[in-house]
Symmetry: C2
Subunit: 208 residues, 2 copies
Amino acid sequence: MTDTVKLSKGEKTAQRILDAAEPLFARHGFEGTSLRQITRSAGITEPGLYNHFSSKQELYAAVLERALKPMSTAMDEHLAQTPGLRVYTELPGLMTDILLQHPPIAALFQQALQGERESVGNQLMQQWLDRLVVQGGHSIEAMVGSTIEDRANLAIHVIAMFNLTTGYFLSQNLFAALAEGDILAAENIERQKRFLSKLFRAMLIVYE
Amino acid sequence: MTDTVKLSKGEKTAQRILDAAEPLFARHGFEGTSLRQITRSAGITEPGLYNHFSSKQELYAAVLERALKPMSTAMDEHLAQTPGLRVYTELPGLMTDILLQHPPIAALFQQALQGERESVGNQLMQQWLDRLVVQGGHSIEAMVGSTIEDRANLAIHVIAMFNLTTGYFLSQNLFAALAEGDILAAENIERQKRFLSKLFRAMLIVYE
DNA sequence: TAATTAAATTATCGACTGTTAATATAATTA
DNA sequence: TAATTATATTAACAGTCGATAATTTAATTA
């Protein structure tokens, strides 16, 4: 459909390894996931993995980068095309749509942020969210003056947006218990998007 | 100060084990934390742990229950004393204050929710948050009619509140990178509490 | 103080961890 | 097809995992 590029055998198994590793790292974290689990799920033997990734760390970084890519490009386009404050009111819905296509990566992102400050995961996530702060700072200052007076308040807003959007996908079990439904069902995704939209418009009205 | 109850030697080391285990489970999760790490940090040998907890699972449950207790009692009092919608506008600030006293437990709660649906962690968290849904449902319906029409929408609200409140404490590294400050500093906690208060009032205005 | 119980230790278990070496098989290029 | 490279395998490594048994030391109770 989208990409019918001819893949060599090695590239195909590398993809299979990434596909197998992604949900495992997302659910059990870096330390909680073993190469045995990954290679078993990918249908290869353990040392075979080292033909494609030179260590567990490097595999983890590759998983994370692949997962961040669609978020990153979608956000770039959105930031370039959308004027002013709509960046903030529409971005959560956009992120929700992307996360919906690969629900486990929400957990992957949160796991990545829990490690050491210098860890690969942390750094990748930080440089990604940093653009939101920079761009968002400009937009808001241009629109409503310096109401969001400093970087600290802006960071609090961006962090809240991130946690609200990804946190929804982390609450699958919780939602099933509280509402007896599937959080990924279309109707519930719509509910969440309406909720986010309302919430973020309300959030900005405070600063008008 | 608060409790000068005479503790037996065994009870004291049990406490020390819990104190050592809490931040480790919070940061590395259940599977990512080893009994070796815990006992080393608690200053005892590994088999000595089994004099106080019969397995890793049981220790984990004990850590989680102890961490949930102050949240649970504070929430009970709050629900009993606070009328109507103020339950929702003031609860996040209250939770923030409690989490501030033991910052690692925010991560502990999120980790607990990631496991299997039947896991101890998940069940403990669910029965705790379930009360919010039940009580909150009554309050809101009594105040503003059936505007929050069904359980699904209510669950979305409760989940958002939970993720916003705990997510702040999970974003320590992120905040340091984005705003070059300490997320636990009094001034930033105040910022977050003001933000949460505004946000939740705005959230409810939508339903008036 | 003596008896009893609680709490700690050392030694050890089989299973699992990430990783490497040596080697065989399959795919690609000459 | 032959040569070469890419990709897979089996075997083995030192270190760690959670847990148990047997035993010694310390604390509590009689």
